[in-house]
Structure formats: structure tokens, C-alpha cells
Symmetry: C2
Amino acid sequence: MAGDADRVADAATDPELACPTSAVVDIVFSRWTTPILWTLHTHGRQRFVELERLIGTITPKVLTQRLRQLERDGMVVRTYHPEVPPRVEYEITELGRSLAPLFAHLAEWASGNLDKVERARHDYDAVPSR
Amino acid sequence: MAGDADRVADAATDPELACPTSAVVDIVFSRWTTPILWTLHTHGRQRFVELERLIGTITPKVLTQRLRQLERDGMVVRTYHPEVPPRVEYEITELGRSLAPLFAHLAEWASGNLDKVERARHDYDAVPSR
DNA sequence: CGGAATCCAATGGGATACTG
DNA sequence: CAGTATCCCATTGGATTCCG
């Protein structure tokens, strides 16, 4: 762990970034972004209402917000077709796809450890003193 | 990946979980949890105030909340030493440590792609029509 | 020291209604 | 269809104070 001295120093000045993954977390794991990216990744290019339907509980307002954010971050591309009725399609970018192995690892960790979390919660809740 | 059929089926009924990583995200990537886990992982067992100092901008209230949650999820163990003044130490568990490779992948993705996100944002913001 | 309690401000997100 | 606009509520998090 030599060479971490300067990062630790940075952490002292900007401590929320004491964790080198914080920036990624803000980009990728904000609320709703994972379901959106996942849906676009597995179902391919989708229209607005299709996304709304596939994700299920998200409201159009929030879906728009998150899609704009993802577009700005270069994770999705928005294609507007000037027709009547208008048609808009969203597609995941290569940058967005580059997250796939990350998601795979996440899913893998989940399949192996989610039950442990569940058990830990159960045990914790079983103690009446808290 | 056999046996995932029911989870996929669940996704159809509970669409917020259409993404198999949502559960993990809620556990691991809630606000402040990554800096806390990262700090405990790299600096080892720490006292409350030490954590507060290392993370820097977090308030004691929020730190307590997040530590409790992490403890409940089995990611952190809390050890209370009944002395005067009292001493409490927090340590990452094996379950918590099992996230390390995940964090490594995250950091790796960041080092290779964060600049692309930055550029995408710059380009997006350069268009005046929005 | 390690919190708990209280109060408060900001934010996010849901519901609804409307429009090009 | 693909949003936008508005209202409103719940949650989060900061600041402060106090306690065993």
C-alpha cells in the first residue's frame, strides 16, 4: 500500500473522495440508473414508453431526469425521430456497455452473499436490546 | 445461471428489481457506505472519532446511522469497551472484505473511463440548445 | 468518547394535469 | 408519443445541544 500517502492527503482535504469509487458510484449507482442501464443493456434500443413499461414503477418525470443525466454522462444516446406521433429511442453506448462486467460481478456477489446479509439482518433484529 | 428463472419472474412483477443488481446497490452503495467500508478496509479497525476524522465531512449522526446499517447487514462489527472514557471500535467483517474485488473493479473502471464521462459531459454542456 | 435527541433545510421523487 | 409543469410529501442530511 505504498504510494497511498498522497491520496490520503487528498482525502484529508476532500474527504468524501477518500474512497476512489465515490465518483463512479455517483455516476452509475444513482437511483434508477441501474435498472435503466440494465434494461437498455438486455432489451436493446427502446422507446420512452417501452422503458417506462419495462421498469414499471418509475414516473415519466423521473425517467426523463435520469435519462438526461445518463445521456450527459455518455452512457446512453437519445435519437429523436421527427414524425407524428414523435418517436424517441434510447440506446446504451459503448461506454455504458463497458459497465457490463462490473454488473456481472455485482450480480455474482449478490447470488453468493445476499443470503448472508439476510441472515445477518435477521440475527441483528433478533437481539431485543436494540 | 440456472435457477434464476424465478428471480426473473419476480422482476416482471416487481419491476424495480428488474435489475438483478438493485438489491446489492441498496446494501453497498447507499450514501456514505462506500467511503466507510473503504476506510475500514484500508485503515483497519478504527474508533468512531477516527472514522469521523478520516472520512472528514460526515456528521456523527449520519456516521452512526450508516454504521448501524452496515452492522445490521453484517459488513461491520462493532466492539464496545466499557471503559472511561468509553471506547468503541469498528472493523470490517469477512463479508465486507468480500466486496474488495468488486471495489477494485470499480476503481479500475474509473481510472479508465472517468475521463470519458468528463468529456461526454463537456460535449453535452457545449450544446447551447439545452 | 460515543453517541442520542431535536430541529431544520434541501432534495428527491410521486401524483396529476397539460402540451407540441 | 414524449415529454413538461406544478404541487406536494417523505426522506436525507446538516447543525446544534446534551448525556452516560
